[in-house]
Point group: C2
Chain length 233, copies 2
DNA sequence: CAGTGGTCTAGACCACTAG
DNA sequence: TAGTGGTCTAGACCACTGA
């Protein structure tokens, strides 16, 4: 009759979470400092620190030097949203991936694009419109603007067979991402491409990607109504 | 002329990220093992491990015992979505928070609720409909079902002045969360409460919360069109 | 100022797994 | 089965910040 086994720091973490949830460590209250917990749990401070850091990163605890550790009073839950490559995301859901390029070419940067890319409006950017299909059905409509200053050579890349995702991965990998999610009515080319009536509610994910030092591009991804985005704590 | 200062593991992490992004460590390629890196960077394996673990958690690297560490070929970016309490989220955006309860009472669990809460359909659940306001304007419409088996006493709680968020925090704190994001057309009570025409695209966040062992409830949060959700890598 | 968490070292054992 | 990452110990120094 052996235990299912877990690493000590995981068991300690679980026990601490139990104390938080049982009210033994009430919201807003201080908990013992690391050294005391190390004695109580019979391990070193490093192990306690590992468990506490993990709980703090998850939003259950708040830690401050000298101030000690307290249970979060108004916890900010941090849900994790997986953002796979578009192709991979469709494949993961068990669908056959398809791709159709609508247009790709240099255009003067529209105002909102120039602002995101931190460039003067009218400078050339690569605009890409493409449709991603799952089992032959429209799934996501991609409208993207890429900064050729950061992604050097992107204007000569061939996006007729595969989207910019993979090319960018190898030529201008992102290190930072900002995403905004909205609900928008379908309109124009996107509505037509997705095969939905204008006005149909669509989930839009706008992604702004950056290298360590410069903006790479702006992506607006419109999802077919059958699609939903999942996150977990 | 001193450096801006950063902890060694952060500088090492940054340097490793640079090597990934510069192509020195190409996607899919193996990188040296921890012991070798420790020698190269002139620190202990613990410090290297800290940096590598962080990069792996962010999705840049993939690590396996015996298999070593390799640069992620098809990286799954993990964006982080902050989920504050509803009241706090509105306050953080600099708006005055307002709350209006529409109804709260026990109802037989609808099928889809019973499924999420892992209960027989028709068993009593507490249904709450409420509107959250920002500067007096409708902001989010909350439709929630709470399992009184998990959240004992919830049927006697007073939700006329504050939403279930805070009550639940103290009486049935969640430890796991699943969230689904969709775009839906406004309809019925929600459209009326939010003051938008039926059919207006709305961003819906459906949250299923759980304690360590049992489901707590199901929340459907419909956002006013002026609202968007932000995430970051 | 002094208490607390954040981090690093030096070393060790072991679980996991690719070859 | 041998190499690799995952974790733990015991100890240390110090940045930060509340009192």
């Amino acid at each position: 009759m052996s235990k299912p086994f877990a690493a000590p720091w995981l068991e300690i973490r679980a026990d601490m979470l139990r104390r938080v949830h049982s009210g033994e460590w009430p919201p807003g209250g201080h908990i013992p400092h690391e050294a005391a917990l190390a004695v109580a749990y019979g391990c070193t401070r490093s192990t306690i620190s590992r468990a506490l850091r993990d709980l703090a990163e998850a939003g259950f605890l708040e830690r401050r030097r000298k101030g000690g550790t307290r249970v979060a009073e108004k916890p900010v839950r941090r849900a994790v949203l997986d953002i796979p490559l578009i192709e991979q995301g469709i494949a993961q859901q068990g669908h056959a991936y398809g791709y159709r390029l609508h247009r790709a070419g240099l255009v003067p940067a529209p105002g909102f694009v120039a602002e995101v890319l931190e460039m003067a409006p009218g400078l050339p950017v690569l605009e890409v419109c493409a449709l991603h299909l799952a089992d032959g059905h429209p799934h996501q409509f991609e409208h993207r603007w890429i900064d050729p200053r950061t992604a050097a050579g992107v204007e000569h890349a061939d996006f007729s067979r595969a989207g910019p995702d993979i090319w960018l991965l190898h030529h201008a990998p992102l290190s930072r991402l900002e995403m905004t999610l909205r609900a928008l009515p379908a309109e124009g080319a996107a509505a037509a491409a997705l095969g939905v009536a204008p006005g149909t509610p669509l989930l839009e994910a706008e992604r702004r990607s950056f290298t360590l030092t410069a903006p790479i591009g702006l992506l607006r991804l419109l999802h077919h109504p059958s699609f939903c985005l999942k996150a977990r704590l």
